[in-house]
């Protein structure tokens, strides 16, 4: 606090001057000027701090928005790509393979065509809530594409991952009570990451398994080879 020290010195010096001392008006003017500068600096710093705080908040909101799916509030594809990459890296380091569930709504186009896009959106929102509340706390559900969701289960063996898939499939089929939305079913493909496998490769296997579920008649869970 340099300015505060100068102000103290000037105040001290003034106290020692005789009332009629010729230096008094000079010191008084200096003291006034220093007080003014001091007040300005404090104000400037305060305003600058507030700007910085607002900027930080705006950046945070922007970052959150860029990683969130607007319709469902789930992490979006961008966020999920990062999370999957991180988890697969951990898998290679710790031999703790995660499982990926590719989840697709069966005949979703028919929902849109018969009930309208607004209802279609509500179905996706409701399904997102169901997925979120059905998986374990450390699993991640994301909106992957239109009616496609991706679920990441850290360190999960195939049998358990298929179990989670079955749970999701049944939960989606049982609509919450009193919800006037058309019923849907899910086709789910499950792949467990292999050591050294690229994200694209394991996603492809989950995707292929999901299409196999479609081929077998939909509303089912298929494990990737």
């Amino acid at each position: 606090m340099e300015e505060a020290r100068v102000i103290m010195m000037l105040t001290g010096a003034l106290a020692q001057l005789a009332p009629e001392d010729a230096l008094r008006p000079v010191l008084e003017a200096l003291l006034r000027e220093h007080r003014k500068q001091d007040a300005q600096l404090r104000k400037l710093t305060r305003i600058s701090d507030r700007y910085q705080k607002q900027l930080k908040e705006a950046n945070l909101a922007l970052a959150q928005a860029s990683f969130t799916d607007l319709l469902t509030g789930l992490p979006n594809r961008r966020a999920m790509v990062e999370r999957v990459n991180g988890e697969l890296g951990r898998s290679d380091r710790n031999h703790a393979s995660p499982a990926l569930l590719m989840v697709d709504v069966d005949h979703f186009k028919q929902v849109n065509d018969s009930y309208g896009h607004e209802t279609g959106d509500q179905v996706l929102q409701s399904l997102a809530n169901t997925l979120r509340s059905t998986v374990r706390a450390y699993d991640t559900c994301a909106r992957w594409g239109g009616e496609e969701f991706l679920v990441l289960l850290p360190e999960t063996a195939m049998a358990d991952a298929v179990g989670v898939g079955e749970k999701l499939r049944r939960a989606a089929q049982q609509r919450p009570e009193g919800e006037p939305l058309p019923g849907i079913t899910l086709s789910i493909g499950v792949a467990v990451h292999r050591q050294g496998e690229t994200p694209a490769a394991v996603l492809r296997r989950a995707d292929d398994a999901m299409y196999e579920a479609k081929r077998q008649g939909r509303n089912r869970v298929v494990a990737a080879e």
């Binding site: 300005q40 104000k43 305003i47 507030r50 700007y51 607002q54």
Partner: protein
């Protein structure tokens, strides 16, 4: 008041500097837009000089109208200088006022206006504006 009256100052806005209008007839200085010019102190010098000249030559009331949506730190400093000048005039018994306009839906802009207002005793109105269209 033998000196010639002040000219109207009218500087159009750019991407990084605000529009400046100063009208001695109306006793009004208006700053509108965003303020982060390349050389901020150079930019504000004529405004500070105009204000000082008006207060010296003219007896009439003066209003400073602020419609700034973004200020860099140098602009904040220049604006504080302008406000201090007005505050001094106020203490000297001049009729000066400040109208600070902000977007009604922008709470942050209002918080900033409050910060500028702090420590000042001159009439300082913080006025919310409805967003257009």
């Amino acid at each position: 008041m033998t000196e010639p009256s002040l000219d109207i100052m009218d500087i159009p806005a750019t991407v990084s500097s605000p529009q400046v209008r100063a009208d001695p007839g109306q006793g009004l200085i208006c700053l509108a837009g965003e303020s982060y010019p390349e050389n901020t102190f150079e930019f504000y010098r004529p405004i500070t000089e105009w204000l000082a000249a008006f207060l010296q030559r003219d007896e009439r009331p003066l209003t400073l109208e602020i419609r700034l949506t973004y200020l860099n730190t140098s602009s904040v400093k220049c604006l504080i200088d302008l406000l201090d000048e007005l505050e001094e005039a106020h203490h000297a018994g001049r009729r000066v006022a400040l109208n600070w306009y902000y977007d009604l839906e922008d709470d942050r802009a209002m918080e900033l206006a409050e910060e500028f207002k702090e420590d000042l005793t001159l009439p300082f109105a913080i006025i919310p504006l409805q967003r257009q269209g």
